[in-house]
């Protein structure tokens, strides 16, 4: 992975926290990063060129009026006043190369001096064991702070540790081994029997990122929420809000359509154009 810095730009020396999305159902992590980039008024400082990410291009995603600034698959942003960097991912990873991609991102984090990585992701609602509707959208987390995945900071924010994280479970162990580079990923899994429910969570992209950052000795916190596919912007707002609380982000935006959140210009058509009403 090559980090290409735009002319005249640089990564602030004070920046030590990296926020990035994991590909997940409803694209929630990516939508949340969109909100954070837009609302922290982060400046794009460069691109990441990786052989495992599929190509895509578009017009400026943030606005206020897109004027042709190119949007590429993997972009790096810096919010200087918050001391955070953000990486936005706009396209999928080559099938079967997620762990390699995660390793490359972990190397990038090491090379740029990151001390803490926050991964934003969502989980499939059908997998939720126990539904608690009493307090709105519950945020779950997974942290490298303790061996069992817990983190006092996250607990104080009212988040729940992902119960399905078990570092001794076979697939979590295999993923950890891959992340540490102690075995080559020649086969999909070293188990011959059918995948079980416990094998599902470590198969997800956020788990690859978690394991690879942890293997590099970087503190990593995954923020997760359950959702179904549809209009997932509410989940994105929730994840962005909780990220903001965790990191104490400063969002200086006038109250508008999104309150303190500056809604990216590209969100106007994120779910396609409005239906044709001429037939009515």
């Amino acid at each position: 992975m090559e980090f290409i810095i735009e002319e005249g730009k640089s990564l602030n020396n004070e920046t030590s926290t990296l926020i990035l999305p994991a590909l997940s159902i409803g694209n929630v992590g990516q939508l949340a990063v969109d909100l954070l980039v837009s609302s922290t008024r982060a400046e794009r400082i460069g691109y990441l060129d990786d052989p495992y990410i599929l190509p895509c291009v578009g017009n400026d995603a943030y606005g206020p009026t897109p004027c042709g600034e190119l949007a590429l698959p993997l972009e790096a942003y810096d919010s200087r006043n918050n001391g955070v960097a953000l990486v936005q991912q706009r396209s999928p990873v080559v099938k079967g190369m997620m762990v390699e991609f995660a390793k490359n991102l972990a190397d990038f984090a090491v090379d740029t001096g990151m001390k803490h990585v926050v991964v934003l992701s969502s989980l499939e609602f059908m997998r939720l064991q126990k539904i608690d509707t009493s307090s709105g959208l519950q945020i779950y987390y997974l942290s490298s702070a303790n061996a069992d995945g817990t983190d006092d900071c996250c607990e104080r924010l009212g988040w729940k540790k992902l119960q399905e994280y078990n570092p001794a479970q076979r697939t979590w162990k295999f993923l950890s081994t891959l992340a540490e580079g102690n075995v080559m990923q020649e086969d999909s899994l070293p188990f011959e029997d059918e995948p079980e429910d416990e094998d599902y969570y470590p198969s997800l992209p956020f788990a690859a990122l978690f394991s690879c950052f942890k293997a590099k000795g970087i503190r990593v916190t995954c923020l997760l929420c359950y959702c179904s596919e549809g209009d997932n912007t509410p989940e994105a707002f929730s994840l962005a809000e909780e990220t903001s609380k965790l990191l104490g982000l400063s969002l200086n935006n006038p109250h508008g359509e999104g309150g303190k959140w500056l809604i990216p210009f590209s969100w106007r058509t994120v779910y396609g154009p409005p239906p044709d009403t001429s037939m009515f």
């Binding site: 691109y47 190509p55 895509c56 017009n59 606005g63 590429l72 999928p92």
Partner: protein, 271 residues
């Protein structure tokens, strides 16, 4: 009416394998390569303009430029030669490279007439730009991908949009001097929609290598009006020294470049 059971999911949603760390990766393929005719041109080639045609209308127009010279080809090991004709033909599965010389300016044309998968696009883009071919300026011609477009596209109207690299927008050449945009007056591709595949890989490579690059996408994918529009665009803005008026507007109804209904049905149900 589309069958909801077999219909491809909308592009903003993932297949299960996209979210599986342990999905089986595709079989590794031999790297693509560039093959040049004899005598081998001096390398690297440094054209003032590299035009890469991906869309049917652009392929049609550029194929019919008679003054171009075949100088090489991009070889993809996964694309068989069987069925190709001896003389370059629009029906071939090929990726030929042609030279157009206008005074002292070398223009290279690449006619991409074979499918390049998304997974192969980065490798092909690296081969065409920045290694054996170092262009001053790049123009990529493709079609709007309706599945990735978030606006409305009427099948009986023609549209054309562009995307440019920062170097092109700022009008900078390698010496930092100003210059005008290659395709003036075209609207930018609307924000919220994306383009993927080889066209995206090529433009991204230009952006990251600080090369002046333009991606021009037209709609619809076939038809006489869009062929005429692309021809006019190229004549006005790009190939000033070449007379394209003798190139017909693809009125031959048997041509797959004219009729939308002749466009291959790309459903996985029918193989």
């Amino acid at each position: 009416m589309e069958d909801v059971l077999t219909e491809l999911p909308p592009p903003s949603r993932f297949f299960q394998e996209d979210l599986d760390n342990f999905a089986t990766p595709p079989l590794p393929l031999q790297s693509p390569s560039l093959l040049f005719s004899s005598p081998k041109p001096d390398q690297p080639l440094r054209p003032s303009l590299l035009v890469i045609a991906l869309s049917s209308p652009s392929l049609y127009v550029l194929h019919h430029i008679s003054s171009k010279t075949l100088i090489g080809s991009l070889l993809l090991p996964e694309i068989p030669f069987s069925g190709n004709s001896i003389e370059p033909s629009l029906g071939d599965k090929s990726c030929n490279i042609y030279a157009l010389n206008e005074a002292e300016n070398l223009t290279l044309l690449v006619l991409v007439q074979c499918p390049v998968s998304a997974e192969r696009s980065n490798a092909v883009a690296k081969l065409l730009i920045g290694d054996q071919i170092i262009p001053e300026r790049v123009l990529i011609l493709d079609s709007v991908q309706s599945q990735n477009f978030r606006g409305k596209l009427a099948p009986d109207e023609t549209y054309v949009f562009k995307l440019e690299t920062s170097a092109e927008r700022k009008g900078l050449d390698g010496n930092g001097c100003g210059g005008s945009s290659l395709l003036k007056g075209l609207d930018y591709f609307p924000s919220g929609s994306v383009l993927d595949g080889l066209a995206a890989a090529l433009l991204a490579r230009c952006q990251m290598r600080k090369i002046r690059g333009t991606l021009c996408v037209s709609w619809p994918r076939h038809g006489v009006p869009v062929v005429a529009m692309v021809k006019s665009l190229l004549q006005r803005n790009v190939l000033h020294g070449f007379d394209l008026s003798s190139i017909g507007d693809a009125k031959d109804k048997s041509s797959r470049f004219t009729s939308i209904k002749n466009y291959p049905f790309d459903s996985d149900m029918y193989t």
